[in-house]
Symmetry: D2
Subunit: 339 residues, 4 copies
Amino acid sequence: MIVAMQETATEEQIQQIIEHLVRMGFSVHRTTGVRQSILAAVGARIDFDTRNLEVLPGVQEVHRISAPYKLVGRTFRPEGTVVKFANGLAIGNAEVVVMAGPCSVESREQLFTVAQQIAQAGARVLRGGAFKPRSSPYSFQGLGLEGLKLLREAGDKFGMLVISEVMEISQIEMMLPYVDILQVGARNMQNFNLLRELGKVKKPVLLKRGIAATLEELLLSGEYIMAGGNYDVILCERGIRTFETYTRNTMDISAIPIVKKLSHLPMTADPSHGTGRRDKVAPMARASVAAGADALLIEVHHDPDKALSDGAQSLFPQQFAQLMGELRMIAPAVGRKMA
Amino acid sequence: MIVAMQETATEEQIQQIIEHLVRMGFSVHRTTGVRQSILAAVGARIDFDTRNLEVLPGVQEVHRISAPYKLVGRTFRPEGTVVKFANGLAIGNAEVVVMAGPCSVESREQLFTVAQQIAQAGARVLRGGAFKPRSSPYSFQGLGLEGLKLLREAGDKFGMLVISEVMEISQIEMMLPYVDILQVGARNMQNFNLLRELGKVKKPVLLKRGIAATLEELLLSGEYIMAGGNYDVILCERGIRTFETYTRNTMDISAIPIVKKLSHLPMTADPSHGTGRRDKVAPMARASVAAGADALLIEVHHDPDKALSDGAQSLFPQQFAQLMGELRMIAPAVGRKMA
Amino acid sequence: MIVAMQETATEEQIQQIIEHLVRMGFSVHRTTGVRQSILAAVGARIDFDTRNLEVLPGVQEVHRISAPYKLVGRTFRPEGTVVKFANGLAIGNAEVVVMAGPCSVESREQLFTVAQQIAQAGARVLRGGAFKPRSSPYSFQGLGLEGLKLLREAGDKFGMLVISEVMEISQIEMMLPYVDILQVGARNMQNFNLLRELGKVKKPVLLKRGIAATLEELLLSGEYIMAGGNYDVILCERGIRTFETYTRNTMDISAIPIVKKLSHLPMTADPSHGTGRRDKVAPMARASVAAGADALLIEVHHDPDKALSDGAQSLFPQQFAQLMGELRMIAPAVGRKMA
Amino acid sequence: MIVAMQETATEEQIQQIIEHLVRMGFSVHRTTGVRQSILAAVGARIDFDTRNLEVLPGVQEVHRISAPYKLVGRTFRPEGTVVKFANGLAIGNAEVVVMAGPCSVESREQLFTVAQQIAQAGARVLRGGAFKPRSSPYSFQGLGLEGLKLLREAGDKFGMLVISEVMEISQIEMMLPYVDILQVGARNMQNFNLLRELGKVKKPVLLKRGIAATLEELLLSGEYIMAGGNYDVILCERGIRTFETYTRNTMDISAIPIVKKLSHLPMTADPSHGTGRRDKVAPMARASVAAGADALLIEVHHDPDKALSDGAQSLFPQQFAQLMGELRMIAPAVGRKMA
């Protein structure tokens, strides 16, 4: 941590800051310049709230040097994390994985119809929501356990792994027998109690970026899970909130190369939530692979107009198949191929 | 709902949209203009996802007319909601209420020291966190039940009501005997399962705006609680995320008059989280009252440098007492006085 | 325009709004529903400020139906605009054009060194700034007319067209003999006096999106130029300001497919300014082409560490050449090839 | 400037960075820690682009220590700047000044009607736009010189100073005989050529914050003017762009106390543009004074429904008079009175 003192700071103020830092467990190196003094505080604590120094008398500004995370940083595992599954599939290596399926599991017929078509087109993981707490208290809320069982059955039948979203701690146990990847949604990215529990689980976790979360905060949430012992964390960009109103969110494609540089964890993209509009999903899916994404999450529905949730952002199966073809052409440009 | 068709829309496309709307339960009025056709869809559903129409062929744009909420709207209760407590205090009438206290309950000594000083200065509600899931997995996590008991004891001793934050459904039962108001933090503003449970509770709920939540979304979350039967909902502005980096959040003071116009619910402000810096708390507290806030939430700590959380945004007790004096001068300018 | 009246609006208020609209030149159709009245106002004016109605008594909300632009809309020219140049190059057809060069023209040696290398790698337009008003009053301000002459000479020598930024009206005349495309920077996107003058010019204009401009505002600025008679307008995404701080701007790749749908004008992307960091330029350039961009603007410098401006976002010539190879692999996935 | 090297940086990389810094004119102090090396670069240059270091091999992150401005910083003039006028009025002392008037000067009758009423209510400066380049090419564009003459005449007649907006360099000369303060609008906050010319003028300049400008950028634009020799700079908050859509802009009240701390320049607020809605102007004007604003800019029109621009955000004269009464009650709470 670097503390820059104001030009007008008195020697007494500087001494107080130094003592404060020492009391917090830091060792301090002081540089006295022509205009101001600069204190470099070195120590093991990474959870120090720098604002506590900023508001003290004589302090101009404070910069944290070490990133506030350890385990998710690229240095921890420079070669990169590859999350491996029993069926041989892996996320984070040279093969780009596509996870697809409906927003919500609505019925056996719906799920199996979609699952067959996406498997045939090249999806390797089946996605679908079993719990759907909605922003309106008057909407469809999901099939629950029944949805999980259908996902497992459809995944097994069509040769796909299964991913589904966990909304709260009490659902974890129930989900474990049915899913291969536990997904944490954007609204739960900073539900630290949930993250802590997922740190104890022996299955991979896909963690989505919150709509107002910086990339540093996304990484810190990943740290929460890894700190609990679960190192199979997959990160995901799904759009942030900006002033632009044409799309529900602004998908931050640059998050992909940035996270790949800062962290060793696989970085994926969800263009369905990232744009919220069917006609923008394919361009943004292509852009994600071109920018280096390790995997994609794409919503597909065989009859989106009748979907009980998020139909507007679901591709038709034919659109999905066409997109897969385009992705197969783009992947080699970044030295990869589609899984 | 208004659906504007593209100038190039065919008659067949227009008919399909009309049929689609009728199928969804709307009745449709069509206006055929020189440039384009406009469809007015009238019906009882308020949870319709307008994007489902936006992506259909021939549609130019869709506007929802009725607000997606009913119970929280000003028309539901034009005279305004006043949340009343057994000791005679009320939030939402001509008296502005100040809720104050430390970020976290750290110890009996800390809490009672702060409580005595703020009560003397005019605080009418004691605030304090018992559960503190933190953004870093390596930080202090709160005293839990012990903290709740201390809050109740201190509140009773110094004549203040008690407010504390509920983080998850499992904590509600435990908290009810000890608190007068249940607070929902910004990160949980869209935790719909939690909101649903709070709708069944017989105690007032203070709901904070999420850092990326629009005011419409805040109102819709209030609707969730009211829809469950709990009409004692209090809303709170506590800063939103913007591009400005000097403060942690940008406190949106304009949210106060806007919510007061759109809704009958009391609207309050939290300048401590809204700014994140002690030296900005007093100006923003004054601004909130000047803009019409019904109550304030202010963090106070007798030794902020040693606070286990958020010390940087906590006022010293003397600063708090001075602020109370300033607020007493401002309140009459908006036809009110301090409770 | 649609005006939804409040449920509590009186008949007198409704009549006043109708009269107000008629006075403004609209004809009005009224629908009286169970809950509220809705007024559809039809007329030729597209510059009406809807807020004037929003603040009138009894009005709930106002929605503009027709987009506030005419000439830039896709309906005006459904087949799309192709901007053609004397040497046969075109922007907006099946060939993706790359414009490259240094941020500023610094010297003949610098410019010719870069120009030769990028031309060889496949750039078809040479970019370079002659006027560089900088955010610090203490920085390099550009070579001016001398820079324009060097650009023309280098462009001719290496077979490239020339694009350079015009900062104010007084520079237009001076620039016309030397450039093939006049570029309007993000800060001038709403300099309406400048846009009006560019509407009279007989050369294509590349208009960059402002860092806080919505896509509707970008289109409206394009309208300004077209309204003056200059239909050769090219639009450009170059990053918007968001809460994320890792990159200077967040490049909004979704702007590419959105603008292509709303407008007939060619849509291009500037990943150098869009990210501000050399190591993010190539991923975002690839993403732009994958999302359907008609052209790219890329900064290249043979010795970026010594560049007088924006060296940090300039590619080395070898990096540029490698990127061109990658783009040649991606373009066919969207049915195109590199020009 | 502080350069933190990566943990994995080689000694050779560290040496290269040191040499790079020395070549740029900095002297460098190195601290070698257990985890990483930290370089403190000290020197006179304040316009250094830190990204140039960020992209070099081995660099983890770079922090600028000294603010990139000198003249506008609080240390330059700790007692604060008071801008004084010939008639005895001053901005920046214990008296809060209100500047009011119509958005645009539309006619003699309009201007004089408004001017008389606001002067009577306590406005000390008359505002009004003479040049109105509009976002739509089809709107009223202002009276120009005739408008300036009317402003001067009305100001003199009713005992008010005059402020009006300068849009481009060519207007400065024309405006000087008629105005007491030159206003720079939000869109021109980074029009550095214009700022440079205003640095040579002998009249005060009121500089508005751009809708996407950080406070640091606002201060740097103030620096531009001061660097030219004009020290009478007044800063102004007028709303920033955020994700919230209910108001056109989100007025950042916290900018007032922040700028007052960082700079010695007077800080003012424009609640009319800050909110864009008449019914929010009074609450935000009160909030601004409560937060410490030195002056306010408020739009008033005697017949806003017929205003040629921005009628929706103009107060009626009676509303303005009532607001002045409220402000007189609030000012003493911050140790001030209304001028």
